[in-house]
Symmetry: C2
């Protein structure tokens, strides 16, 4: 496995590979890898001749400085895990390699970055778009792999790739869960034992809401009920929302279940968790 910290050396390596007709699969991460990331590595290996994983905690996508400071950093374990799973190339740049001078550029995606995560994390998606643009231009991958857990992020990146004409096919892989249902996330490492159990309520709320929506109950009513259930267990729900998987507009009623996704965000102690499920699992 080749590890690069510098853009120039990585690009020389990739140019050679590309001209030997090798396809490049790309898994962008912020490290603190877990089985969710490894499922993306597997998908990339199945679909490309080379798999590149980037490990970079991007400061511009953190709206909350405490969250950035406490974001888990486990580089050695990450590298060992990637090596063990047959990843070919790791790109792990320092901040100075990714950002030169003060940042002047920001992105606006209209409605798409104003709702849900965009509403509760102002500037988050502009930071995501900025670092993904950089990484796509550096790596120029044939395919790139993202997890469904960050579904709105996937929609933002898909929009970015279309509008900027990135020559990269995007793949969204199903969320990987712990045995008890908690969606895997690097932030789970920061949960105490009690919080770890409290965190289960997000997936429970999603499943219950889905079932009752399909029976004809109103999202508005269910939202209040779920927020109360969360609060009783000490979990503060930020949103419980239904969206169209195509254009990501918010819905209050189920119109076509096959194009609908249910999304939740909540604070468990100081840790903010998100999760989602499709109304009709594929």
């Amino acid at each position: 496995m080749n590890i690069f910290k510098e853009i120039g050396a990585l690009q020389a390596h990739l140019k050679h590979a590309r001209c030997s007709k090798k396809t490049i699969g790309f898994v962008p991460t912020m490290g603190a890898l877990h089985p969710g990331h490894l499922s993306l590595i597997r998908a990339s290996k199945a679909g490309n001749s080379l798999t590149l994983c980037s490990i970079y905690v991007n400061p511009t996508q953190f709206n909350n400085p405490a969250d950035l400071a406490k974001y888990p950093r486990t580089m050695e374990a990450d590298v060992a895990m990637l090596e063990g799973h047959g990843c070919d190339i790791v790109f792990a740049p320092e901040n100075e390699e990714m950002y030169k001078g003060p940042i002047q550029l920001s992105f606006d995606f209209g409605k798409l970055d104003k709702i849900l995560e965009g509403e509760f994390r102002p500037g988050h998606f502009s930071g995501v778009a900025l670092v993904v643009s950089k990484l796509f231009n550096i790596v120029q991958p044939d395919k790139a792999y993202f997890g469904q857990k960050d579904y709105q992020q996937f929609k933002v990146i898909a929009r970015l790739a279309e509008e900027l004409k990135f020559n990269t096919k995007l793949e969204c892989e199903p969320t990987v869960r712990e045995q008890d249902g908690l969606a895997m996330s690097s932030r789970n490492k920061r949960l105490s034992a009690t919080e770890r159990k409290q965190g289960l309520i997000l997936y429970d709320c999603l499943k219950q809401t889905r079932q009752r929506l399909m029976r004809g109950e109103k999202l508005m009513t269910l939202r209040g009920e779920m927020a109360a259930t969360c609060l009783k267990q000490g979990v503060k729900m930020e949103y419980l929302a239904l969206a169209d998987t195509e254009n990501f507009s918010l819905l209050e009623n189920v119109v076509s279940p096959e194009h609908s996704i249910l999304l939740i965000a909540a604070y468990v102690g100081e840790i903010r968790l998100i999760d989602n499920i499709l109304l009709e699992e594929k």
Copy 2:
């Protein structure tokens, strides 16, 4: 000379060239070519194995719909001119190839796109950044060539390329002028014979202001005087400004002439013209 209208076919052609170790020089244009464009073609030919010129009137950078409708379109003459000057590849896409569905993404460059052209043409630089991002991702050039006449645009694109990590070196070539000093521009084609003569006042104002600034006169005073001179000849000045060539901040006094540029915009009849000169020509 190869002419492409489709992204896919162009990219296949370029990939082959790139892997045969050919470097690609890129001259993005909106057509209506004149000797200013041809100087960029010459610079590209001198510095690269292949020269690609794009001809595309980008709708998203026109804040004024009448300006877009009346922008000169001279495709046949353009192609003949490029062929005659040894251009290797032309990319001339239709709107549907460049923009799919409604545009949701816009760029914000902070101060850089709020002053001068950014102030008088709201949304202009976001449209420029959008189309240049698309073109850079489609062409992936080694070098790209721009004219000094659109100096603020060059600064915006340089910022874009740095922030998004485009792997393209940008070159700014001196403004080409008519014999009497008028900066060459596709919009000059739309000037009447009288307006054509009136247009000379932009370059005259720049030269006079430069000379008197260097003698210690105040920009503020000169600005009023030049606006009055313009108006007497029926020309409406929008701005006369001094900027730092490095960070493009506006200046009211000459600090370091070697890093200063004087810029002007004015309406001659319905046609908006711009021009600029360095305080110290290289």
